[in-house]
């Protein structure tokens, strides 16, 4: 019974954190917009409802767009889940997405493989390269004790400039106005799940499959178990006989693989040429999502949906109203701060705990008295 009360508390607490974060967003909207109500309408209901002549109707295409936007962030969210579970604050997911996308794109342009297999191969190669690059912060941490936080941050910039170097000097299609590669071979494109303008590709299904795979991996395999135990208590894990160094490396390589996979699936599912000229930002969003999901893979799609919805709302707000879409960063930061705050509403939790333990004490006394009598 006490556990249920705690669960209810935790859910309410999460909801309160999100509302508070949205509240911060509203304040900024009211401050910056000449037509705050209009802006708010686009932010909150715009993503899935169309309003015409005062009549609400469900906007299927827009909803599909939101689902499509979840594809890369589900992957980065899962990646962060795995890495943070091992207590490794590796922030190179951002670079890994870009690298995976670029490598996947090159494979899509230059490899000749029949349809269906082609995108699979591209994505696998992209994922593998991103996984390998994570060996840099992982090995430096495990072998030399260099902070993965700093090395992974530096790695993001290094990856970005290397990709830009190769894009500009070797793979650019000079016939185009903007810097981009040649077009992908048609065989390499990830087919659309639903035809139309939403860009909702089969990648979405793959992402959901990976949610299940990663959840199983983390909670139903010996490797995931070791990752979680090491995250909770490293000396304990070493003493228990776990291979701590190898597991820490594994967690980050998996983080790289998942991020890289997200990058290449996004590129092959959405575009027909590679055109990212800066870090795409999915890595950071992945951190927000992992925090919302409390590092539990199963909750990742819901958190990703929430963020994608907000993101879409912010875009609409900047298109149809006068609030810049970067508003999303303010809201995300606020979510981050409140949601991850352990002591947020802790007073109420303490009240529940005190109440529970008092009940328990009374029960004990009662049962003791019963025995004595």
């Amino acid at each position: 019974m006490s556990n249920r009360r705690m669960l209810v508390f935790n859910i309410l607490r999460g909801a309160a954190a999100i509302f508070l974060a949205l509240g911060v967003g509203f304040i900024f909207i009211v401050l910056s917009s000449d037509e705050p109500l209009n802006a708010l309408r686009y932010l909150l209901i715009g993503p899935v409802f169309r309003i015409r002549d005062g009549v609400l109707s469900f906007n299927t295409t827009s909803f599909q767009t939101i689902l499509a936007a979840m594809i890369p962030t589900i992957f980065t969210g899962l990646a962060v889940c795995v890495m943070f579970s091992a207590s490794q604050f590796n922030l190179a997911g951002e670079g890994a997405v870009m690298l995976g996308g670029f490598v996947g794109a090159l494979c899509a342009i230059y490899l000749n493989i029949p349809g269906w297999i082609h995108p699979v191969v591209c994505v696998l190669i992209g994922a593998a390269v991103s996984g390998l690059i994570m060996l840099i912060p992982a090995l430096l941490k495990v072998k030399l004790g260099a902070s993965e936080l700093v090395t992974s941050l530096m790695l993001n910039y290094i990856i970005m400039f290397i990709v830009l170097h190769f894009l500009n000097y070797y793979f650019a299609d000079r016939s185009k106005g903007a810097t981009q590669t040649f077009s992908f071979q048609p065989t390499a494109q990830i087919p659309a799940l639903i035809e139309g303008s939403s860009k909702l590709s089969w990648g979405f299904i793959v992402a959901l499959i990976f949610v299940v795979i990663v959840a199983l991996f983390m909670y139903r395999t010996k490797w995931g178990y070791a990752i979680r135990m090491i995250g909770i208590n490293q000396p304990f894990s070493k003493y228990s006989g776990m291979k701590v160094g190898a597991t820490i490396i594994l967690s980050q390589v998996i983080g790289g693989i998942l991020s890289g996979m997200g990058g290449s699936i996004e590129v092959l599912g959405r575009y027909n040429t590679y055109l990212w000229r800066e870090l795409p930002g999915y890595g950071w969003t992945g951190i927000t999502i992992a925090i919302l999901a409390k590092n539990n893979p199963i909750f990742i799609p819901f958190a990703a949906l929430f963020i994608a919805y907000l993101d879409k709302g912010c875009q609409l707000m900047s298109t149809y109203s006068d609030v810049p879409s970067e508003m999303i960063d303010i809201i995300q930061a606020a979510i981050f701060l409140f949601f991850a705050a352990e002591q947020f509403l802790a007073k109420y939790r303490q009240k529940i705990v005190v109440k529970n333990s008092r009940l328990e004490m009374e029960n004990n006394n009662l049962s003791q008295e019963g025995r004595n009598a």
């Binding site: 700093v150 090395t151 170097h165 609030v323 970067e326 947020f344």
Partner: protein, 319 residues
């Protein structure tokens, strides 16, 4: 090409640019030192620099005074430091996540804030005029010394301040009771608490100072270095500062030396990218690669040191 390269770096203006480029990193790295000494990891330096840089320009534009701009940036830095402190210390958000949140605000959030305050998008181009930039100082006597004079004289007020602050921060940490308390809190906060030092207060002060220093770094960037604010202008300097602090063993002087090293790397990038046939992208890598290599060398040296220490001991025992 190599000669051309040597020609470029062995010049007063190269030394000058090392100092100029080091200053913002040094500000933030000193901020990292103060925070770390109190046992607080301030990963939000990057975001603080970016936001303060924006507000530096805004304040100086509104008041047409560079000094108010710099002070405004400093105050914003303090407030952001305290914001991280509030969430990390009071509400127990993981301090790394609190820092990342501030970095998010420093990323897209600044674009929003700029729009909110001015209606501009992306950069402050139209706001900046020469009279609201941080002024430079020519040092009369030193100025006339060849090479040295040319490289040391003529910097901005803030550049000199950055290097003076190295010694002020060292004095603060080792000669004042606040410094004693900061070090005590960082080393054993329970012990500090048991003698009535308010650990929270000291940590707030430390992260506030840390924010102030990063704020100055931000002001330096927008009000002198880039002559205006644009999104992405900090370009990882806040993160590099963290690396400089780690390499400088969290000591002010050591951190200044490692910051100069990063300044050198970045100055090199600026010079080399002007040369024919060099990829500007690969050159842009230099400071980041340098940071990783620096951290690795530092890590190797510490492991070796421990090893060596143990070895000399073993030898002493045998003898």
């Amino acid at each position: 090409m190599f000669e051309q390269f040597l020609d470029t770096i062995l010049k007063a203006d190269f030394l000058f640019s090392i100092i100029r480029i080091t200053a913002p990193i040094l500000f933030a790295a000193l901020g990292a030192v103060v925070a770390e000494k109190a046992g607080v990891v301030n990963i939000g330096l990057e975001g603080i620099m970016s936001i303060s840089a924006l507000f530096g320009v805004l304040f100086s534009y509104w008041t047409q005074s560079w000094l108010v701009g710099v002070l405004g940036a400093l105050v914003v830095g303090v407030l952001l430091g305290l914001l991280i402190g509030f969430f990390a210390l009071k509400l127990k958000t993981d301090i790394i996540l609190a820092g990342i949140a501030v970095n998010m605000i420093g990323g897209g959030g600044t674009i929003f804030l700029l729009y909110m305050f001015t209606g501009m998008r992306g950069n402050t181009g139209a706001l900046v005029s020469q009279n609201i930039l941080i002024p430079t100082i020519n040092i009369p006597l030193i100025k006339s010394i060849p090479i040295l004079g040319e490289s040391i004289s003529g910097h901005s007020v803030l550049t000199y301040l950055a290097f003076i602050l190295v010694f002020l921060i060292a004095g603060l940490l080792y000669k004042t009771s606040l410094g004693l308390n900061i070090r005590a809190v960082g080393e054993n906060d329970q012990a500090a608490q048991s003698v009535g030092i308010s650990v929270l207060r000291i940590k707030y002060i430390a992260i506030g100072i840390s924010g102030a220093l990063a704020g100055l770094g931000g002001a330096f960037m927008s009000m002198y270095y880039s002559q205006g604010w644009n999104s992405g202008m900090i370009a990882g300097r806040g993160f590099i500062a963290l690396a400089a602090q780690a390499m400088g063993r969290t000591e002010p002087i050591g951190t200044m030396l490692s910051s100069l090293l990063f300044g050198f790397a970045q100055a090199l990038r600026t010079k080399v990218s002007g040369l024919q046939g060099v990829s500007s992208y690969l050159v842009s890598l230099i400071p980041y690669v340098f940071t990783i290599v620096g951290l690795v060398l530092y890590a190797i040296s510490t492991t070796k040191k421990v090893h060596k220490y143990r070895q000399t001991q073993a030898e002493a025992v045998e003898a």
